[in-house]
Symmetry: C2
Subunit: 505 residues, 2 copies
């Protein structure tokens, strides 16, 4: 069928065309089917149908237009074409049949090439969630995710890496772990994420100090020069399938175990990591509520690492309370820098950072077994870690002379006062993140929450429980109002709610 | 967050807005999340993200714009809002928990209101396919599908109805069944579908004779006046959830049993049917390849009917070969009219039509047990069925004086000749449909295939196996080329393929 082209100047994220319902019927295609654009190297596009496009015309989304040439042709010939084989493989999974390595690779390749519709993607993640995958399949999935993206190949080894499962606020430890490890002669090319529902991701933190957007090639160069980087993974094309999977998993609030494992390990595999430590925050309010679940996850990660030729160790950490006393970009960076400069700071931050760094130092052979933490503490205490972080900041294009006193939280501040004397008996991580976000985190650097009182500490009526910082006054107002309407921290003996006798007329 | 409005003048099929990636991040929403449009009766819209919209601006799709008022406001305030509860219920299904009637109703209601994204819809159909549903759940699903659409309530009863599972070409029997039943004083408001991947649906056939697009109210009026209608269901709002479900099932090539059952029975329930006969074509190349599967499907349909207060009987019919000798709108109508006018025509058509009509006549009390078919034959032979069809044609606005000789197939014709003497040993239904479609069916009325030789018949070399008809010459050329390249009918002793010795240079 030959149709007049109407360029749509809208990005669809995929090769897509829109047909009038009548034309679609004549061609025998439905929404979600594929057509080939003949005479144009047989580009395959996904069909939408509707009445926004008159009969005899095909609406062509921007990606497709660009692929058709500098100037979109006036007419194109369309023929119906079959769906990619991947759709059949997804159906096979639904029918409880195991997939081959080749079939999994095909699915992931089509995903990365934006050749699967949202419906097909959703079917894949739903089926993965319901049926799970065998260890073989998870390995193949991980390998496919690595091979369909960019890879960094270092000339020297070992390459160290660190990952956190997430779920605990204030987890700024990468700012300490990376320089400690690099200061001991090991290479650690850390790619990290920005916060989406959190208050600050590692990439958001590092961005307070230096640019974080680098290509895979640049990551390699900087790492080889100064031993480490802390960059935003989103600027690279490492394991791009992960982003596509998240697009379908997030709206369903599911995180199939197979894809959780593959997602973590593919990113490590793509940077050529040999030794990886994985932080598994455990406890109420985290992603891993019990120790048993944490251990199961750890075993799965270690096994998958073995299959991929990586040494993996996992650290179960306490996640029911924030790490340190700060949540939000500037506040967290200030806290981390202060520890590096003065060794002054919260025990939870120092202990956790040196603990995880110590594991890496042992795995990489920089420290003898059981002496990693000692070396990590020594690296911190001696100022070597601080110097290394400065080198990394400089290599990434930031100011190496920065000190913690240069990093200022937002000028608008408000305190949430304790309504009674007593011990802090409950502490709600999620509410703290919510308040920090209302104050402007992670987009406003200066926004966040200073935690004056943590669980178990004693407080007097009127003393601050938390201090909220914001760059913008109106955001502070929203945040403090929200905090006051539902306290994130409960003090023993505090009146939770006053129920009054109300006469209904 | 207050944003400038940019009306998109594109239909999304849902309430949707597009946010710049930055703004989405600040709001803390991802693609697929929902926002409420404040000050506008808190309309909820689904979020897309991208860079086609500048930061500070929100792109508003047409449906949303229209809902906001005659003139789209210049700015709107957005707040993130939670997903509908339905998404949680779908997750519950994934986790193998049974749903309550209320939960199923919520899912279907959100579906009909276009409040579920494609990802959520796909998760629902995938999970339905994998886990199946209990009989209770299927009943609730059917009731929800009925209650979320238009219903017809007749004052007199019983109301008769007929459905075919489909999958066999040339199945024009409704043109005979409906008038036979109505001629015996029973009401039969038949809504039917157009062909999408087939060569002609019942609605496509009837449209050759009269208009088929009527509202539920009009269907009621015409049925009460002349006893029956044959209309296109797509013009009504009967069981609209079905269309939404198909949108997600079709691209995955799945047809979850629970939804197959609910889809059929909801359409019958919505027109207030008391007695329903269901045609289950069985055999190679149909949707129900074996008798055992057919019987299982029949039992499920009968049980669901009982739960809904409908009497259901199923007829397993031979589906491996077309019904009659014609495939395509005009050809099929001509064949059906000729039988009504003269009792001359293929045995397969007469037997099947009177068989199914007979069951309805017995169910509705117009014939004694085991005497339905006899009465149906008599109704046909006496010309009462023909007169009734003419009344129906007239009531629907067509010409009641039409005879089969008025209905002419396309003027362009070509024969596919038998390449050898022998018996027809294989007959490929799907290829016949493909050839009819290439010739222009179902959009070109005159296009189709006349089957000169059916399975088991004897043919001489050079005699026609099929005759292809088309309204347009170029379509005929395509169809005959295709037929010659891969014969839809195999004659015993015919050379299937000649493999030549080829020297590769």
């Amino acid at each position: 069928m030959e149709l007049k082209v109407q360029p749509l100047q809208i990005k669809a994220g995929k090769y897509k065309v829109v047909l009038n319902t009548e034309d679609a019927r004549e061609l025998g295609v439905h929404a979600g089917d594929r057509v080939q654009l003949k005479d144009h190297s047989y580009l395959t596009a996904i069909v939408e149908t509707g009445d926004m496009i008159p009969a005899g015309t095909v609406g062509v989304y921007q990606e497709c237009c660009e692929k058709l040439g500098k100037v979109c042709p006036l007419t194109i010939k369309l023929v119906p074409t079959s769906r990619p084989n991947s759709v059949g493989f997804i159906k096979k999974m639904m029918d409880r049949q195991k997939l081959t390595q080749e079939e999994i690779y095909q699915i992931i390749q089509d995903m990365v090439r934006e050749n699967l519709t949202e419906i097909e993607l959703a079917a894949f993640v739903t089926t993965s969630y319901i049926h799970g995958m065998t260890s073989d399949e998870v390995e193949w999935l991980t390998r496919a995710m690595i091979d369909t993206g960019e890879k960094i190949e270092f000339d020297t080894h070992p390459i160290m890496d660190k990952h956190s499962i997430g779920g605990v606020p204030g987890n700024k430890i990468s700012l300490l772990v990376v320089p400690i490890v690099a200061a001991n002669g090991l290479l650690i090319p850390k790619t990290s994420s920005r916060a989406i529902t959190g208050a600050a991701g590692t990439a958001d933190l590092m961005e307070v100090l230096a640019p974080v957007e680098f290509t895979a090639e640049e990551i390699k160069t900087i790492t080889e020069k100064v031993g480490g980087v802390i960059t935003w993974g989103g600027a690279t094309n490492i394991a791009p399938a992960d982003d596509r999977l998240i697009r379908a998993e997030y709206p369903l609030s599911i995180d199939p175990r197979s894809q959780l494992l593959a997602s973590i390990m593919a990113k490590k595999g793509a940077v050529g990591a040999d030794c990886v430590v994985i932080d598994i925050p455990t406890g109420i309010g985290t992603k891993v509520p019990t120790m048993d679940e944490g251990k199961k996850l750890a075993r799965d990660l270690i096994e998958l690492g073995e299959r991929l030729g990586m040494k993996v160790e996992c650290a179960m950490t306490y996640g029911a309370s924030p790490v340190g006393r700060t949540v939000g970009p500037a506040l967290e960076v200030r806290e981390a820098l202060k520890v590096l400069e003065t060794m002054q700071g919260p025990n939870s931050l120092i202990e956790k950072s040196t603990g995880l760094a110590g594991i890496l130092l042992e795995m990489g052979g920089a420290a003898a077994r059981d002496h990693g933490k000692e070396l990590a503490m020594e690296t911190l205490r001696s100022g070597k870690a601080l110097n290394k972080l400065k080198e990394i900041i400089e290599a990434q294009g930031g100011n190496p002379n920065v000190t913690h006193t240069d990093i200022n939280p937002g000028e608008h501040r408000a305190e949430l006062a304790a309504p009674a004397d007593g011990y802090v008996i409950e502490f709600n991580n999620k509410r703290i993140v919510e308040i920090a976000r209302l104050a402007g985190a992670p987009t406003d650097d200066g926004a966040g929450v200073w935690i004056n009182k943590k669980k178990g500490e004693i407080v007097k009526r009127g003393e601050p429980l938390i201090t909220i910082f914001a760059d913008k006054g109106w955001k502070l107002t929203n945040a403090i109002k929200n905090a006051e309407s539902d306290y994130p921290i409960i003090v023993e003996g505090m009146l939770l709610e006053r129920v009054q006798s109300v006469r209904v007329i």
